[in-house]
Symmetry: C2
Subunit: 104 residues, 2 copies
DNA sequence: CTAGTATATGTCAGATCTGACATAGTAGCA
DNA sequence: TGCTACTATGTCAGATCTGACATATACTAG
């Protein structure tokens, strides 16, 4: 992983495990985090496109404004489950979900 | 939601909330569960295609055989996070992930 | 400036998920 | 039959995530 990118992620609160790539083990951790960030971006973009505030989205899915903010900020304490549920609450289809994941 | 499908999901341990669809609120819950089941299926198929046992996959991702079994069974106590991490551990690309989600 | 609206960030008790373990079931083979 | 490998299911203490709340920041409009 690029050192710059690592710095950026650690600033968001991610703790990147040692260089397991040297053991031929992975890149899986990086893929996972990037996937999350992509979904987070997709969520923010979609919410704004719908003209919905964080509070409104939070109410629609019975969560809270702070949790929505954390989702969109890529906070590591938010689960993929919650992010995906948010996208689905906004009416995102499987096809659109796939597009968000693929986009890069 | 079809009554038959609901029965099937409840047998797996899912508790389906009341008919919120009447309030115009959703189908989001159903989408979420179906997405999970699709990923679960994709995981099982991919693992087998790789000729990997549940134990081997579990070791590769520092989980346990029982958890892998639950993932593949669509058990509701398993998070999306874990299922996605499993797929990534098997080397699934974003494009393949998207295909799994879209396939239906 | 003040008020209103939206978003960001930190905290925490309670809810949920996790790995580990035990155990049961299944399939193939000698 | 027994033996081995693989998978399924249940349980639980400890780890992680959650909604709620407080508070801070940023931007507009009056």
């Amino acid at each position: 992983m690029r050192e710059g990118k690592r710095k950026k992620l650690e600033a968001k609160g991610w703790k990147i495990g040692g260089p397991r790539e040297l053991l031929g083990l992975s890149g899986e951790e990086e893929s996972y985090i990037e996937l999350r960030l992509r979904l987070a971006e997709g969520l923010k973009a979609r919410r704004k496109a719908h003209g919905v505030s964080q509070i409104e989205l939070a109410q629609a899915m019975r969560s809270s404004q702070s949790r929505v903010a954390k989702m969109e900020a890529g906070d590591p304490t938010v689960s993929l489950d919650l992010i995906v549920k948010s996208l689905l609450t906004l009416g995102t289809s499987n096809r659109e979900l796939a597009a968000i994941i693929t986009r890069g």
